[in-house]
Amino acid sequence: MDTIENQSRFFRRKKMVVFFFAILLLAAILMGRLTYLMIFASGYYEEMAIMVHERERNIKAPRGRILDANGVVLADNITVCTVSVIHSQIEDPEAVIEMLCRELSLSEEYVRQRVEKYTSIERIRSNVDKETGDRIRSYNMAGVKVDEDYRRYYPYGDLASKVLGFTGGDNQGIIGLEVVYEEYLTGTPGQILTVTDAAGLELVSEGERRIEPIPGQDLILSLDYNIQSYAQQLATQAMLTKGAESVSIIVMNPNNGEILAMVSVPEFDLNDPFTLVSGNEADMTEQEYQDALNRMWRNDCINDTYEPGSIFKIITAAAALEEGLVEAQEMFHCPGYVIVEDRRIRCHKTTGHGSQTFTEAIMNSCNPVFVNIGLRLGVEVFYSYFEKFGLLSRTGIDLPGEAGTIMHQPENMGPTELATVSFGQSFQVTPIQLAVTVASIINGGNRVTPHFGVRTQTRDGEISEIFSYPVTEGIVSEETSAQMRYFLEQVVENGGGRNAYIEGYRIGGKTATSQTLPRNNGVYIASFIGFAPAEDPSVLAIAIVDHPQGTYYGSQVSAPIIRQLFENILPYLEDSSYN
């Protein structure tokens, strides 16, 4: 063997052995360290996990409030707290359990289970009032976290419940104005910024920066708290005294469509929208419960249609006047009935009104006269006015779920259908549609868009946006409008609407008593529409009483409601800087 070769092989071998052990040693040290970190230093991870959690939390923004025309707050926010525990940060578990049980009135078992659970963060209770939350925070116990959030609060409970609507678990609007104006009311959440954002974890040594949340816009409505409360009171009273199923009232400005009040009793408590007024949820199935809730939340003024009855004669008369087919002084005769095709349609005064002018016919609300007028118009022309007056389209009110008109197709309308339609039966409209159409006839011919939302503004009162709504002009001529105002003033002064008359005021209006289907079951809807001052109306109101017990005439049941309403609000409206 060559010694030199052996020697070099030996050195080479030695080098390799050294190399091998060096790497092995390094690797072993590293593996050891890693194992240690992984198995024995697990508390380290908890911290990191929580910080990721914290980093991801947004700072909630308060929702915009809803205010009435005079600045009364109808929908507000209250601060609520969520109390949580972080297992790995708790230093004295027994003390934490004891305090939480006491402050939050929870069972020890419940709290203990959550405090001892081996997770990064565990929620104990949410929707805790601020006072209690602040108190819990003031104990300064390690591992206890109190976070703040906002919850919607309606100071007036059931006031305008079906108009305002309510919010859900994440403070998002579910029905009513809360959902229609969601975009404006929702604020922009703030953020906690850290040095390494996006995918990294925050470096504990660096401070936090906050981007403050931007509160939602406040929404200012045309609704008037005083008028709404009074109307709601009147409606509830009427419902109780007349034993009715429901009562609806709409009060609006006929010149610009602003709604001053909208009532659909029975209303519900906005702070507790999932509790049925009837209270027997326990006995219901899931589906029954949901149906009952939907019924409770339903706004009869816009979600449902009904047969308008004699109030619709206003539309028939206006159409006839526009066509020049009738004059105020024209004479008619009512024997108590009229025969159309093979049907005998009765007047409500079975003995007949005898001879009367057209003006008197309106005051008497005489059916045969209006059948006559309707037939003069004919299906085609009548239908075209239906369309022109906007009855076939929706009003465009800023609430969800507006129902459409249910009307015959012109090709299906024979003389009988035409006759019944002329006095407001055999088709259905929503109360708001009726109100807006009548308004367009008596205000000089302008069809306005009914609405609640007037403008939005910031928390400090700075105006952000003023809403504008479309108006269609030329619905009727000025002459027709003036003529109709005159007719309807006569109805209140000397005709069937005299229960709405108030000394010292000029009021116009029309009564209606319609029988619901199936006919002859004795269920009626009594309604009345009124406006004042008659010569230049600035307020229009309609009251609809569904299924009153006992007396059921619009003139007896509903006209007095409007009278009481006007008695109170007409002076109020004159006094305030309204309009």
Binding site: M16, L24, A27, M31, M38, M48, V52, A199, G200, L201
Partner: protein, 319 residues
């Protein structure tokens, strides 16, 4: 994003590239030439003399980069553990094979035992310390998991060791294992970034390390990664998949690994069953394509392209 994505890639790449001119001659002087299998393709006999254990370059690059990020990104620790652990087993195997000149390296049972120990520690960690649910996300089916309860643990062993074996078999052509694995590492990096999982530094380090290594490993290779590299990469892929709760995705993105293993199993079983007949011209399957006339570079290119496409498809199914 630059701090935990771009920096690790560049750092690992830099280390890997810089190590080349030092490590490769060193390995060559130690005569750690890979003894090429006699049973391999004839064309490969030229390769004796090319040093192996280049996996040390990859491992060093990944380890050093990970150490820098370990404190702020503790999520990478289990992945580093399994990568290094398996790399160590590979290193032992290489050393015995090449330096001590025993061509089969560690005995099969020894290798398996070591792998089981490493996997065991990893499994314990994931299950008991991280308390990570071992349920596996099902690709393309949001919010659905495949969960075998207690059997998830034996499954973990099978997946980890299987992936490792797959990586091992894939390391048979110049640049094959590196190219395929670099695609997989990119896939996991995208997922890591997208899910904000905090492990982007190590997946990106793997990308950088492999890209650097590829400079020396593409055909004609100046260095092979050896078992040191192959096993480490297998460990990396398996560990990353489990930390992200995505082992099922391995069936898509690491399909090449799967096919390589399957081809060997099928070939051997068929051979035994039919007393001498073969399905493939040679197994693992990359040799079969070579025997069909494909050049080495073509096989590597095709396998890489397939993996790239599969990774794109898998990305669609990530949730």
């Amino acid at each position: 994003m630059k701090y935990d994505v771009i920096v690790p890639v560049l750092m690992a790449f830099g280390i890997s590239v810089v190590l080349g001119p030092f490590v490769i001659p060193f390995l060559r002087r130690l005569k750690v030439g890979q003894t090429v299998r006699e049973e391999g393709p004839q064309s490969h006999l030229k390769k004796s003399g090319t040093p192996t254990m280049g996996g040390l370059m990859i491992l060093t690059a990944i380890v050093v980069t990970s150490l820098v990020y370990m404190k702020d990104y503790p999520g990478i620790i289990p992945i580093l553990f399994l990568t290094l652990g398996f790399g160590l087993i590979g290193f032992l195997d290489d050393y015995i094979k090449v330096v001590l000149k025993r061509s089969m390296g560690l005995k099969a049972w020894q290798k398996m035992a070591l792998q089981l120990i490493m996997t065991g520690i990893f499994a314990y960690y994931v299950q008991n310390v991280l308390q990570l649910d071992l349920a596996m996300k099902i690709p393309f089916w949001e919010n659905h998991y495949l969960d075998f309860g207690i059997w998830n643990i034996p499954l973990l062993f099978i997946v980890v060791i299987g992936t490792d074996t797959g990586a091992n078999f894939t390391d048979g052509l110049d640049g094959l294992a590196s190219s395929v694995t670099v695609m997989i590492a990119v896939f996991f990096s995208v997922v890591a970034i997208g899910t904000e999982s905090g492990i982007a530094p190590i997946t990106c380090a793997a990308v950088g390390a492999l890209l650097g290594f590829l400079l020396y490993n593409v055909h004609p290779a100046s260095v092979f990664m050896g078992d040191t590299g192959a096993l480490a990469l297998g460990g990396f892929v398996a560990a990353t998949a489990y930390v992200l709760q995505m082992p099922l995705f391995l069936l898509i993105v690491a399909l090449i690994y799967v096919i390589e293993v399957l081809s060997v199993i099928l070939q051997v079983s068929y051979f035994k069953l039919t007393h001498g007949k073969r399905i493939f011209k040679m197994a693992p399957i990359h040799h079969h394509f070579e025997m069909c006339g494909w050049s080495e570079t073509k096989v590597v290119a095709v396998f890489s392209i397939v993996t790239a496409l599969l990774c794109l498809v898998a990305l669609l199914g990530v949730w």
